[in-house]
């Protein structure tokens, strides 16, 4: 049971480039989340999804987009990379809503130069 799998693990982008961070879970969880983690800060919610076809903005959605075409996959898209998006990105999933623990992937470390 792989849990939550994120790819790639590391990436360096140039300003203005675009990329997609992949996230897949094999636990049949309805709820999925994208966070960014900056040094000395708590996790900040970018986008979340309560099921296939349903997504919503979190605290810091600007510069990002998501889609949820299947229960398993929840990719995060950066269209025009900016230095402020340098961060570690975590994907998480949970079986129910906010009263169940979220399970995290090991993250994607992204640098924008």
């Amino acid at each position: 049971n792989a849990g939550v799998t994120q790819t790639p693990k590391f990436r360096i982008l140039k300003i203005g480039q675009s990329m997609t961070l992949q996230c897949a879970q094999d636990m049949n969880h309805n709820y999925m989340y994208w966070y960014r983690q900056d040094p000395g800060m708590g996790l900040k919610l970018i986008y979340y999804s309560v099921g296939a076809g349903i997504t919503d903005k979190g605290e810091v959605p600007n510069g990002y987009n998501v889609s949820r075409s299947t229960t398993e996959d929840f990719p995060l898209r950066l269209e025009l990379a900016a230095p402020s998006q340098t961060s570690v990105y975590f994907c998480a999933s949970s079986s129910l809503g906010s009263n169940q623990p979220q399970h995290f992937g090991d993250g994607t470390r992204l640098s924008i130069l």
Binding site: Y48, N99, G107
Partner: protein, 113 residues
């Protein structure tokens, strides 16, 4: 990763001693709380959770205490081991009307041999 741990408060504990990590939560309406452990280069790992109808919950070598009066949460680790070295942070949520967590910034636990 390591960059996440910069500027965090640090607790240094001798191997074999008990550790107590504290967390002040922000929302008096929060009714579900979780402790996570994050090792260098890894995603947050669920340790233990507690709901607001409880004051204490025990797991394997860990105990979580909840004081709703002062909005305080603590994680106690018994007989701390070198493998316990990590960043620990709490998360709070409100089970009605939201799927979102609020995450603390974390405490770095260093276990001294």
């Amino acid at each position: 990763g390591e960059s996440v741990g910069l500027h965090l408060p640090t607790l240094s504990v001798q191997e074999g001693d008990n550790s107590i990590i504290n967390c002040a939560y922000s929302n008096s309406a929060s009714d579900y709380f979780i402790w996570y452990k994050q090792e260098s280069g890894k995603g947050p790992q669920f340790i233990i959770d507690i709901r607001s109808n409880m004051d204490k919950r025990q797991g394997q070598r860990v105990t979580v205490l909840l004081n709703k009066t002062v909005k305080h949460l603590s994680l106690q680790i018994a007989a701390t081991q070198p493998g316990d070295s990590a960043v620990y942070f709490c998360a709070e949520s409100r089970t009605s009307g939201t799927y979102k967590y609020i995450f603390g910034t974390g405490t770095r636990l260093k276990v001294l041999a």
